[in-house]
């Protein structure tokens, strides 16, 4: 039987940690969440030799064991409790060989926690090209831990790294403390050591600093540490300053004769030249907008074809299943509930993949850090942060992965506002709704001969989403109060060519997140909607059945299309169903917005996922062969008239009011669920749901009243 043990990978951001993780595990990865928190937990199988396999966990990038963001907190949590299921037997510390000084800070903290560490000097190729000479043997000797030079991107040094991990597992070498921790707070450290029966000074010192934020401590223990701290006047800030300065002194001494820089680093010089252009006062912003425009265009152009393929594939499956399955309620469930749910999930994958392709490239090259740098000043005005740019841009595809990417924002207030406003960004689910509605009232004309009028209106809707996100942020800034100061400290990594395997894995992981997080909700909602739209009070349903049974038997002689009859019956059944009843129930409330009960049904059904609007419309207007034929839906909607007044249902005012409603309302259960998890409570998603929907209602009301 194989021996099983845990290896943790830890390091600063931008050290190529993910690349190393990928090189060590290949595609043998599992992504989940750490229990209780929503930080992504990436694990993989690490085969060390024939009879030794480890579980490798990728800890979120961190600069030290003093965490600032939810992501960074994880490392502290795991390394501070031997009982944690992820507590490592060996820790691999990944450092950027071109930037050793700052990178080694974390290493010295881990050594002082008496963890068996292996130091992986990554990006050795870049270091060599840049004229940085590192005496690996001497470095290992001085630090007292195994040091392995690796270049993760082309798998150099991986076997040696594996050997070092095995060695540290079987015969760990644990160097003595790098600095004298005991002196910072002797009484506090001694008392905590006694209380917890531990003999490590740094572990006790860490507890004194972080007890209030560690989930694994009971309240009783937290109180005990607090009391010890108060008793001895423990000054967290001063001791941390002393610790950090001492560590850097130690590092400077270590590096004094082990690292030599022969010439100014070529990469760095090139990077500075690039920065002069890419963050230039005028060109910098210009280039950013051109890139953004290009990304935007590509999302729509490149995903068109795969989306058609997916759509047609589902029509094919649907036809096939209709043909082979026996008619009945189960078949209806599969064809009317499960299949549309699945296609509703998969149809968005191409756009998500294309967007994350670009985001991954921009992040991997180091350009995204510059965007963050350039946008911070603007974002700050609206209660956001430069780092909100990635979530906001991701929000164009889907709010779910976008909101999750807000985890890198250290400041809680900035992060909360980012989470709150991201759903305003126009996501892919709104696109089919906008496309249909715009085609109803905006003529397919060109302005100046080349600008599509419909395209311009669509762009205006995206702009509206962005502007409202900013305004919402500005409003929230006034209401949310926090003690913690907003700050912005971010490394600007050297520009590098993107590592395509990383890009590929990022796209794959984001797509998987979408399918797992948003997908299951969309599927569940689709099934619930099917139930609501299929069943209704039985006496009404029976009446319809009888009526149509009679009609079809009477009409056999007349040349009446059977399928037309079927569609009419379907529409009448929808009207009598629970969904229909709901639509009628809310009609008085939505009348001032210009909607009738049919639109009411669509509002009800698309409450959980916006894109359901189009499918519902096609069922209501009894389109034959289901809602995949947009043109037919469009024609039917254009002809629709109010049976009492005879006026057109979809007037300009009604359509505009609908678009505004869909732009603002929080009609997405998946977003609700993800906000619930990311904010650890029901409060914020509820506030979001109510304020957004109330605002959508008021705005749609205003638009309708103004236009009609």
């Amino acid at each position: 039987m194989n021996k099983q043990f845990n290896v943790a990978l830890i390091g600063n951001p931008n050290t190529g940690k993910s690349t190393l993780f990928n090189a060590l595990t290949g595609l043998n990865q599992k992504i989940g969440n750490f229990s209780g928190v929503t930080v992504e937990r990436k694990t993989g199988k690490l085969e060390l030799n024939e009879n030794l396999t480890a579980s490798l966990i990728d800890l979120p990038g961190t600069y030290s064991l003093y965490p600032r963001s939810a992501d960074e907190h994880i490392a502290l949590e795991i390394l501070n409790s031997t009982k944690n299921p992820d507590y490592p037997n060996v820790v691999v510390v990944v450092v950027d060989a071109t930037n050793l000084k700052r990178n080694l800070l974390l290493l010295t903290q881990l050594i002082d926690l008496q963890l068996p560490v292996v130091l992986a000097l990554n990006m050795m190729d870049v270091a060599q090209q840049s004229g940085i000479e590192i005496n690996v043997t001497l470095l290992a000797e001085k630090l007292g831990v195994p040091v392995v030079a690796v270049t993760a991107r082309d798998f150099q040094g991986i076997p040696a790294l594996k050997d070092a991990i095995v060695q540290q597992f079987e015969h760990p070498t644990l160097p003595s403390s790098t600095i004298h921790i005991h002196g910072y707070a002797p009484e506090v450290i001694d008392e905590i050591k006694n209380y917890f029966h531990i003999n490590n000074d740094y572990a006790a010192f860490e507890l004194a600093h972080h007890y209030h934020e560690l989930h694994n401590l009971t309240q009783e223990k937290k109180d005990a540490i607090e009391a010890i701290g108060i008793k001895h006047n423990f000054n967290a800030n001063k001791t941390q300053v002393a610790e950090t300065i001492d560590r850097y002194n130690y590092i400077n001494e270590i590096l004094s004769d082990t690292v030599r820089k022969n010439k100014p680093a070529l990469e760095e010089t090139r990077s500075n030249t690039l920065d002069a252009i890419l963050t230039h006062r005028i060109f910098g912003l210009l280039i950013f907008f051109v890139i953004l425009f290009g990304v935007f265009q590509s999302i729509f152009n490149w995903s068109q074809y795969p989306m058609n393929v997916i759509e047609n594939a589902f029509i094919g499956i649907e036809n096939y299943l209709t043909a082979i399955l026996p008619a009945g309620i189960l078949t209806n469930l599969i064809i009317g509930g499960i299949l549309p749910g699945m296609s509703g999930v998969l149809i968005f994958l191409p756009q998500i993949a294309v967007l994350f392709l670009f985001i991954a490239i921009l992040e991997d090259t180091g350009y995204m850090a510059r965007v963050t740098f350039m946008m911070d000043r603007l974002m700050k005005n609206f209660g956001l942060n430069g780092k909100s740019v990635v979530p906001l841009i991701s929000g164009i595809a889907c709010a779910v992965p976008a909101i999750m990417s807000a985890r890198s924002i250290e400041n809680w207030k900035d992060r909360l506002i980012t989470i709150f406003v991201t759903p305003f960004m126009s996501c892919s689910a709104r696109l089919p709704v906008y496309t249909l509605l715009i085609s109803l009232v905006v003529p397919n004309k060109f302005v100046f001969g080349f600008l599509s009028l419909q395209g311009l209106i669509l762009m205006a809707m995206y702009l509206l989403g962005f502007v409202s996100a900013l305004l919402a942020g500005w409003l929230l800034k006034l209401f949310i109060k926090t003690k913690s100061k907003s700050y912005f400290l971010m490394e600007l990594p050297v520009y590098r060519m993107p590592r395509w395997s990383n890009v590929g894995i990022t796209i794959f992981n984001k797509a998987r997140t979408f399918v797992m997080e948003a997908g299951k909700v969309i599927l569940a909602v689709s099934i619930i909607l099917w139930v609501l739209a299929t069943f209704g009070p039985s006496k009404d349903f029976d009446a319809i059945e009888t009526k149509y049974a009679k009609m079809s038997s009477e009409n056999t002689t007349i040349e009446l299309n059977i399928s037309t009859l079927e569609s009419k019956k379907k529409a009448e059944k929808l009207e009598a169903s629970y969904a229909g009843l709901l639509g009628k129930f809310i009609e008085p409330a939505i009348k001032p917005l210009g909607y009738d009960w049919k639109i009411g049904i669509a509002l009800v059904t698309s409450f959980a996922a916006r894109e359901v609007f189009v499918g519902t419309m096609s069922t209501i207007y009894s389109v034959q062969g289901d809602g995949e034929h947009l043109d037919t839906v469009r024609e039917k909607m254009l002809e629709a008239r109010n049976p009492e007044t005879g006026e057109l249902t979809f007037t300009f005012a009604t359509v505009m009011s609908l678009m505004i409603f869909y732009a603002f309302a929080m009609q997405c259960m998946s977003t609700f669920a993800v906000v619930y998890r990311e904010t650890n409570g029901i409060k914020w998603p509820l506030i979001q749901l109510f304020t957004m929907t109330a605002f959508a209602y008021l705005a749609a009301f205003a638009v309708y009243q103004f236009l009609s």
Binding site: Y63, S64, Y66, R68, T98, N99, L100, K101, R102, L105, N237, K238, Q240, V241, T244, I245, Y248, S271, N272, D275, A276, T279, H280, R281, I282, G284, L285, A369, F373, M374, D376, R377, L378, K380, G386, K485, Y487, F488, L489, M490, E491, L492, P493, V494
Partner: protein, 74 residues
């Protein structure tokens, strides 16, 4: 030599970090390698005038002017 705020030096001038005026911010700065005695240089400024990018401890760090102003250099 006279102490100045980091925000008062010109782009490209190399200075030496002397001390910090805000304890809370200084912890973060220290961790990121801004140590007393370390040389520091303003590398470039964001298009909208804030934040700024500095070269310190062998890499490039960006920070807001508000934070940079707490670093005293000589």
């Amino acid at each position: 030599m006279e102490l100045r705020k980091l925000t008062d030096i010109e782009i490209g001038t190399v200075a030496t970090i002397d001390s910090f005026t805000d304890e809370e911010t200084s912890i973060l700065l220290l961790e990121m390698g801004c140590l007393p005695g370390e040389s520091i240089e303003i590398s470039n400024i964001a298009p909208l005038g804030d934040p700024i990018a500095i070269k310190v401890s062998g890499y490039k760090l960006s920070l807001r002017k508000k934070e940079a102003a707490t670093i005293l250099v000589r």
